[in-house]
């Protein structure tokens, strides 16, 4: 099975090609540039490198969020449009689970991927090793750094914190969690699309047309509207064919 993995949900962009569980090519870039400019040339480059044709693709694995709204949308739009127009499988994977895949398989420890969400908040999840696989313990969430650090401290277990954005919250981490940290090398701090292609092997394909990013957060305007209009049930009907 030929699989394309795509993650553009944060500053790091990673694209990979794998044949079943064998990596063929991978590109990971950590520069402040626009994913809309970078992504398709990177995909094209890897296909050339691997001497693959687009129509040979069997499956696409995409990081579906959380992360930068625009970043997530670029990856998801390219993934779902490719999958739809090539009639191949589409699999969506949490961007946090993708990063958690960089964790060490240490029994009893928690793997905690982190993306900055600005204004003292983060996107994070809690993952653990089970049957040699890294699986979620809790749902991914949007949370304030202080609440998050307190919650982790209460766990009283060894922690593998992952993500370059942790640098922005160094003080909170040092103050609250320094005793339980397991230090991981630099190479583990960045999302890698090959982790997506590997996870995608075990997942069921999703319906392409209705596939959406998982933003975790409702858009601000929508949140306000829902608070002001509690009698309205969420659930669409907003789009009209002309």
């Amino acid at each position: 099975m030929k699989i394309l993995g795509i993650d553009t949900s944060n500053q790091v962009m990673s694209v990979a090609l794998a044949e079943n569980s064998r990596l063929i090519a991978e590109k990971t870039v950590n520069v402040k540039r626009n994913h809309s400019i970078q992504l398709m040339p990177a995909i094209e480059e890897l296909f050339k490198e691997a001497e693959w044709l687009p129509k040979e693709l069997d499956r696409i694995a995409v990081a579906k969020g959380p992360g930068s709204y625009t970043g997530v949308r670029i990856g998801v739009t390219v993934a779902k449009t490719l999958a739809f127009s090539l009639s191949c499988d589409l699999v969506g994977i949490s961007s946090l689970q993708a990063l958690a895949g960089n964790g060490e398989r240490i029994p009893g420890s928690y793997i905690v991927p982190v993306f900055d969400a600005r204004r003292g908040n983060i996107y994070t999840g809690l993952y653990q090793v089970k049957d040699n696989k890294i699986v979620p313990v809790n749902k991914d969430t949007h949370i304030s750094v202080s609440e998050w650090a307190e919650g982790l401290k209460r766990l009283g277990a060894p922690l593998q914190l992952l993500g370059e954005d942790l640098e922005k919250h160094r003080d909170a981490v040092k103050k609250m969690l320094s005793e339980s940290l397991i230090e991981l090398p630099m190479s583990r701090q960045y999302t890698r699309a090959s982790i997506l292609t590997e996870l995608a092997l075990d997942l069921e394909p999703e319906p392409v047309h209705t596939f959406e990013p998982n933003y975790i957060r409702v858009a601000e305007a929508e949140q306000k509207w829902m608070e002001a209009n509690p009698e309205h049930i969420q659930g669409g009907g907003w789009i009209e064919k002309l």
Binding site: N34, M40, T77, F84, E212, I239
Partner: protein, 336 residues
């Protein structure tokens, strides 16, 4: 001439649209999914919500356009997409979807300017003849564009502040009609009379530029002062007075420009081209003051944002071999 097929995609604002166009002038399909009901909740387009809706709709709309046109990807000569101007987050969905289709099927990619698209909407109905003058009026634009040939664009006049459509939406909010206000104001205007005589800004000036912010302020002040004095104004007369002020300036300057430039055709384009008051006044003025000039007004379904017009404009670029590469990005502030 052999037949050339373009799949076109447009997501610059709050409509997700895809179309298949043959030879730049024949519409095989034109699917438009409007988000207007969603944005009505907020009284205007919320960019983040628009982008989210585009992601939800994009492949559905492309599939429907391909199916209705009964065309396969192998038959396509190019994929065209709006690169700008528009909302950046919204543009990015169309741009990335178009790149994905182009890569998947190894077909050329064409980047289209949204404003040029509005002008070329006319090509789907009538053959465009040059030299041509176009009045582009929408929620984001008010421009007089002169064209010597299909690929040359000269802006000879533009708004210095608000776009005409923007002014409509703003005063619509003051009168209290649902977003977008233009259609409602137009309907009300037909029942009222120009009794308030709002200023016709820049109408006497020796240029082709426009200004609508003074008119908007005059309108708001009139309503505000009446409220303070507990006077009740006639909304239909207010709408008629506002519309007369906008239309007078647009028509006056456009007729002057069409005569000076000795254009063969005058083309109306953009969302405000759907305005009945403007359509009627321009038709009358061309008849009375610009004899011999052919006036093209697009049918109502091609006035608003749609992908068919993008496919029509893209055909000119296809013929010239003007293609984009995979670094194509959204360009929110792109000018013609």
């Amino acid at each position: 001439m052999s037949s050339k097929l373009i799949l076109a995609i447009e997501t610059s604002c709050d409509e997700t649209s895809a179309a298949v166009i043959e030879n730049g002038n024949r519409m095989l399909s034109n699917i438009v999914a409007s988000q207007v009901k969603s944005h009505q909740r907020f009284g205007g387009v919320v960019p983040e919500i628009a982008s989210r809706h585009h992601v939800e709709q994009i492949t559905l709309i492309i599939e429907e356009a391909m199916r209705e046109a009964d065309v396969t990807y192998e038959e396509l000569d190019a994929v065209a997409v709006t690169e700008g101007p528009g909302l950046v987050g919204a543009l990015l969905i169309g741009v990335n979807a178009a790149k994905a289709v182009a890569f998947a099927h190894q077909i050329p990619l064409i980047a289209v300017n949204h404003i040029k698209g509005h002008i070329f909407a006319n090509q789907l109905v009538n053959e465009m003849k040059y030299p041509l003058l176009s009045l582009v009026v929408s929620g984001g634009h008010t421009e007089l564009i002169y064209m010597d040939n299909p690929g040359s664009y000269e802006i000879i006049g533009e708004t210095r502040d608000d776009a005409a459509g923007e002014a409509y939406d703003k005063i619509g909010r003051v009168i209290g009609v649902p977003y977008p206000g233009g259609k409602h104001i137009d309907e009300m205007a037909h029942k009222g009379k120009d009794t308030y005589h709002f200023p016709r800004a820049m109408i006497k000036e020796d240029n082709y530029d426009f200004s609508f912010s003074g008119l908007k302020s005059a309108f708001i002040n009139t309503v505000h002062n009446a409220k303070q004095k507990n006077e009740v104004l006639n909304d239909e007369n207010l709408a008629a007075s506002f519309q007369a002020a906008v239309v007078d300036v647009l028509v006056d300057k456009t007729i002057r420009a069409v005569k000076e430039k000795q254009a063969k055709q005058l083309v109306l384009a953009g969302g405000v081209a759907a305005n009945k008051g403007l359509r009627e006044a321009l038709t009358q003025a061309v008849k009375n003051e610009a004899e011999g000039v052919e006036l093209l007004i697009p049918p109502l379904d091609l006035c608003g944002d749609n992908a068919a017009m993008i496919g029509a404009a893209a055909f000119v670029q296809l013929e010239k071999g003007e293609f984009a590469d995979y670094t194509l990005n959204g360009r929110p502030g792109l000018s013609v």
